[in-house]
């Protein structure tokens, strides 16, 4: 059984969906952190903000690129 032709949903789509959800949550936490900085080292880097954006971007790409299509 191929991971692509016979499965209407591929593993890459699942990865994309999870990363979109995680990206939204972490980016949201990062935006909140701009106003209420978290108690961590190197907080001036705003790690949550750009890591959340990265996850969201990768997740969106995978979700769209590998979205289920009618066969």
């Amino acid at each position: 059984m191929s991971d692509k032709p016979q499965h209407t949903i591929t593993i890459w789509f699942f990865v994309g969906v999870l990363f979109v959800a995680y990206g939204v949550l972490i980016l949201g936490a990062g935006i909140y952190g701009l106003f209420v900085p978290p108690d961590v080292e190197m907080k001036e880097l705003h790690l949550s903000l750009w890591w959340g954006a990265l996850l969201l971007g990768i997740g969106a790409f995978y979700t769209v690129r590998f979205r289920p299509r009618r066969e």
Binding site: M1, I9, V15, L18, Y22, I26, L47, S48, W51
Partner: protein, 604 residues
């Protein structure tokens, strides 16, 4: 091979406080993996589907699952902790201890595994040597898989108790039932999907640590300067002569000039040959992933793709261990000194070596990112369980149940047996997890069991593929005597002779090494536990080679007509000459080796 993890009782409070965002991230992961299991059930109707994912995986999926099976949380937590103790030497587990064996699997052994259409590694032994060798390796493998699954469960529960304050029973039951359900529903396909998911989670859950850590230390050289300044306070027991935590090969000329007490010969022959080739080429847990590939080039390229990612794993495992030596500080600004897991200070609230990654997560990650890091740890443990359980179901059904108990059942019956086995494996693993509570050094023991059962397996398999003269009797005896010799060495180094006649029975204590006996195995009474296991692997390997080759010369080999598609010279290996250069496994195999050599030179 996994480094030892030892856990003490939690100090009664959690290390990290999680927010609702973190909890949402953890819950989302559980929902998704269960959803994937339910979704995939419809695609796993035949034995081929359930046990080998239909042999339809692309090179990328097979390759990521192949490497992800090995990249569990025991690996990430274990090796970051070992690096904190022994420095860059632990990187040998990756570059010399994995890459050559992965290339060998892809280019030399994979054609035989794939062409003979075996369901499992013990299945190859059956085709090549008959039932005796298959039975011995199958039963030892079943024992190893449920034990390792139990270890994963136990380790996850202890880590969650330590860093989050979660109840041990809650972690064990929630994780094991989740894994049991999704493997039962989707078989290997489900395990592979979750391993690919885990691969992404581990990389994106930990990669920010080395990035931010190197920014904080102002680069590699800044980190090295801080480590050199901190070492006398962090590791006061390591002499100045041995306090080289940055070199990989430069300090290996003498066991007394590096923090682990290692010698280059143990690394090359023990880690680079015996353990590495045993694990990467014959441990069915990893080989099963690439056997699921749709064709031979996909299986070979998938293996090599996995090799490239394996070469990069030190970024998220070794580098955090080094960064912990450089940046972790006490509230007064002095370097934080982590202690061994069995140190009494742990019970008083001191952090152990195993806390390296959680402490770095806590240092750099705010709400959300912390949840991602914790989810990565959970995913790593659960994936480790799932891999072992799916391999357990396959080996039990095809290598024990079918040949020995019920030879003529329908394919549907074997699939039902496989699903039942997934749950049975989980139940036995839960028992193993609770049994772990009784032993202080259970993780070191698991490492040794691996050396005992997997290292001897490599010899009859590789000789079986490359040397027609290897006989069934030789393979069985080589495997059996290799296992017994390793068991004997294990007893010997932990045994202190008594006062009675011939010093028997004396005392046996797995928590205590008899240094006078260790000297016979490792040439030095001061060798630590990991190098001692490495030396045992060397002797186990050599014993198996001598027995297998020796017995082959005095027993009757199988006729060539019975060796078709099993042995070099009797197997038509498809040529890849028609493929473009960039799609040829041989080309990428040599690129992988070349990059590995360059990295070893850079970090010499």
């Amino acid at each position: 091979m996994n480094a030892p993890l030892l856990f003490a009782e939690a100090a009664g409070k959690s290390m990290i406080a999680v927010s609702w965002v973190d909890m949402a991230i953890i819950v989302l992961y559980f929902v998704l993996v269960l959803g994937i299991g339910v979704y995939l059930k419809r695609f796993t109707k035949t034995g081929e589907d359930f046990f080998l994912a239909g042999r339809g995986m692309t090179a990328w999926v097979a390759g990521l699952a192949f490497i992800s099976t090995n990249l569990g949380s025991q690996e990430t937590i274990g090796y970051s902790s070992s690096t904190y103790q022994h420095g860059m030497l632990m990187n040998h587990a990756y570059w010399i201890g994995a890459i050559p064996a992965i290339v060998f699997l892809a280019l030399v052994m994979m054609p035989f595994y794939h062409i003979c259409r075996t369901h499992s590694v013990p299945g190859y032994l059956k085709l090549r040597y008959g039932e005796a060798a298959r039975g011995l390796s199958g039963i030892s493998f079943l024992f190893l898989t449920v034990f390792m699954s139990g270890i994963n469960m136990f380790a996850m529960a202890k880590i969650m108790e330590l860093i989050l304050g979660w109840d041990l029973n809650f972690s064990i039951w929630v994780a094991s039932l989740t894994v049991g359900v999704y493997v039962m529903l989707g078989g290997l396909l489900s395990a592979i999907f979750n391993e690919v998911l885990q691969f992404f989670l581990i990389w994106f859950g930990f990669l920010m640590i080395p990035i931010v850590g190197l920014i904080e230390t102002k680069g590699w050289h800044g980190m090295v300067e801080r480590i050199q300044a901190n070492i006398p306070q962090i590791h006061p027991d390591v002499s100045a002569k041995a306090a080289d935590f940055i070199s990989m090969w430069g300090s290996m000329g003498d066991a007394g000039t590096n923090p682990a007490g290692m010698h280059w010969a143990a690394i090359v022959f023990g880690w680079g040959l015996a353990i590495s080739f045993g694990y990467w080429t014959t441990d069915f847990l990893v080989v099963q992933r690439v056997l699921s590939a749709k064709d031979l080039p996909s299986a070979q390229n998938g293996t090599i793709i996995g090799g490239f990612f394996k070469m990069a794993v030190p970024l998220i495992v070794i580098l955090p261990g080094l960064l912990a030596l450089a940046v972790l500080t006490n509230p007064d600004g002095s370097p934080m000194r982590l202690v061994p897991e069995n140190d009494p200070a742990v019970a008083q609230g001191a952090y152990s070596y195993n806390c390296v990654l959680p402490l770095l997560l806590k240092r750099y990650c705010g709400p959300g990112l912390l949840g991602l890091g914790i989810t990565s740890l959970i995913a790593g443990f659960m994936s480790g369980m799932a891999g072992n359980i799916s391999a357990f179901a396959t080996v039990w059904t095809y290598d024990v149940y079918k040949p020995l108990l019920n030879r003529n059942a329908s394919d549907k019956h074997y699939v039902t047996m496989g699903r039942a086995c997934a749950m049975l494996g989980i139940v036995i693993s839960i028992g193993a997890a609770y049994a772990c509570l009784r032993f202080q050094t259970i993780m070191a023991l698991s490492q040794l069991l691996f050396v005992m059962f997997i290292v001897p397996l490599f010899v009859p398999i590789v000789l079986g593929m490359l040397w027609k003269r290897t006989t069934p009797a030789a393979a069985f005896l080589g495997l059996l005597i290799g296992i017994l010799v390793c068991l004997g060495m294990f007893v010997f180094v932990h045994w202190t002779p008594g006062e009675s006649f011939l010093g028997l029975p004396g005392a046996f204590d797995v928590d205590h090494f008899n240094r006078q006996h260790v000297k016979f195995i490792t040439f030095s009474p001061d060798t630590k536990d990991i190098p001692t296991n490495v030396w045992m692997a060397v002797w186990t390997f050599l014993t198996t080679v001598v027995v297998t080759v020796g017995v082959s010369f005095v027993t009757r080999p199988k006729p060539a007509s019975e060796l078709k598609n099993l042995v070099f010279g009797e197997t038509q290996i498809p040529s890849t000459a028609h493929l473009p250069l960039l799609k040829r496994p041989v080309f990428w195999g040599f690129v992988l080796l070349a990059v590995c050599v360059v990295l070893n030179i850079i970090f010499w």
